[in-house]
């Protein structure tokens, strides 16, 4: 990963999901790029090692419509298949099994959408699908609402990590409920990765400042005017937010406190 300047290990803690160690806390999607070359350049600039992909029908009449594997080397990136577009637990399970059959790994980013307009997740169906797939040996990374109870149920169902949203998919609204995300992080034993809603670098920093383990984004980078610059900004922001969390911020005070000495002033 050419552009990656990883944090020196003594500054951060180990980052592990489902028994596998990761070096980057930023995970990125591969959708909505203007070209494959731009996508690859942005992924490299992000320093991400986990890269999400979707499962879709091959377009049989257009041999030009190549799959993403012509562009992404599975030896270089950990390809994480999602179940985007699924609206029922059964469909989601079918897509997850198809993804596993593609032959890379047993990991899946599980998403079951409950509403076409908001794309908000169906927690009950996600829990059901997680239980089935975890029993089949899948390492389920479960996308969900910023709701503690759903997150707890997903952990019970066997998810290796829980992925609450910052705000709706593709909205770029940033973190809508810091309290909910912090609560989920405090109460879960499995890692918490915030997925969806990050619109710009400050959003990513705010996400990481909540103490979560990582962040996954796609549109925030792909829909920027300059995706490669934004990917770089996101990499720096994730590191900055993580470090700020570990450093421990000063207390908020609704009163000014001078930084310079109040004594030794002239003519007093």
């Amino acid at each position: 990963m050419t552009a990656s300047v990883a944090l020196s290990p003594e500054l951060d803690t180990r980052f592990e999901i489902g028994g596998r160690e990761f070096r980057s806390r930023l995970m990125v999607g591969t959708g909505k790029y203007a070209s494959n070359a731009q996508m690859i350049a942005a992924i490299e600039a992000s320093g991400a090692e986990v890269v999400t992909v979707a499962v879709r029908r091959v377009d049989l009449d257009r041999t030009k419509d190549e799959g993403i594997l012509y562009h992404l080397d599975p030896q270089r990136f950990m390809l994480l298949a999602n179940t985007a577009g699924c609206f029922t637990a059964d469909d989601t399970i079918r897509y997850a099994r198809l993804a596993r059959a593609a032959g890379f790994n047993e990991w899946v980013k599980l998403e079951v959408i409950g509403d076409q307009q908001t794309l908000l997740p169906d927690a009950a169906a996600t829990i059901e699908a997680t239980r089935v797939l975890a029993a089949e040996g899948f390492k389920v990374m479960a996308y969900t609402n910023d709701d503690l109870i759903s997150a707890l149920r997903l952990e019970d169902a066997g998810a290796v990590c829980v992925m609450p949203l910052a705000s709706p998919i593709g909205s770029g609204l940033g973190m809508l409920n810091e309290f909910a995300i912090r609560t989920i992080k405090h109460r879960l034993s499995v890692p918490v990765i915030v997925d969806a809603g990050v619109g710009t670098a400050s959003d990513a920093a705010i996400v990481m400042e909540q103490g979560v383990d990582g962040v996954l984004m796609n549109t925030g980078i792909a829909a920027a005017q300059d995706p490669v610059r934004m990917a770089t900004a996101m990499r720096l922001a994730v590191d900055a937010g993580r470090l700020a969390y570990l450093a421990g911020r000063m207390p908020r005070r609704e009163i000014a406190v001078p930084s310079s000495p109040t004594t030794g002033m002239l003519d007093r």
């Binding site: 979707a54 985007a84 059959a101 593609a102 032959g103």
Partner: protein
């Protein structure tokens, strides 16, 4: 009772990714993928709702009239 005359069709009517397709009788799954210029390593095939995980078995899978195939691959997504 006479054995009912089974008419072996010379072409097989398939449903592939939701669309009708016909292939010559005796076509194997690997023949069919080759005719579509698809690299078996880069796609996943679901045959009558069963996901085929063993690509080495494709040459020995004979397609039958009425078979339903889904052929999927990875595309960009978030």
């Amino acid at each position: 009772m006479t054995t009912p005359l089974v008419h072996e069709p010379s072409t097989l009517a398939l449903t592939v990714n939701g669309d009708p397709r016909s292939v010559a009788a005796g076509t194997s799954l690997s023949d069919f993928l080759a005719s579509l210029k698809l690299d078996p390593r880069l796609v996943v095939v679901e045959h009558n709702r069963t996901i085929l995980r063993d690509r080495d078995a494709y040459p020995s899978i004979a397609l039958a009239d009425g078979d339903i195939l889904e052929i999927v691959h990875f595309v960009g997504g978030g």
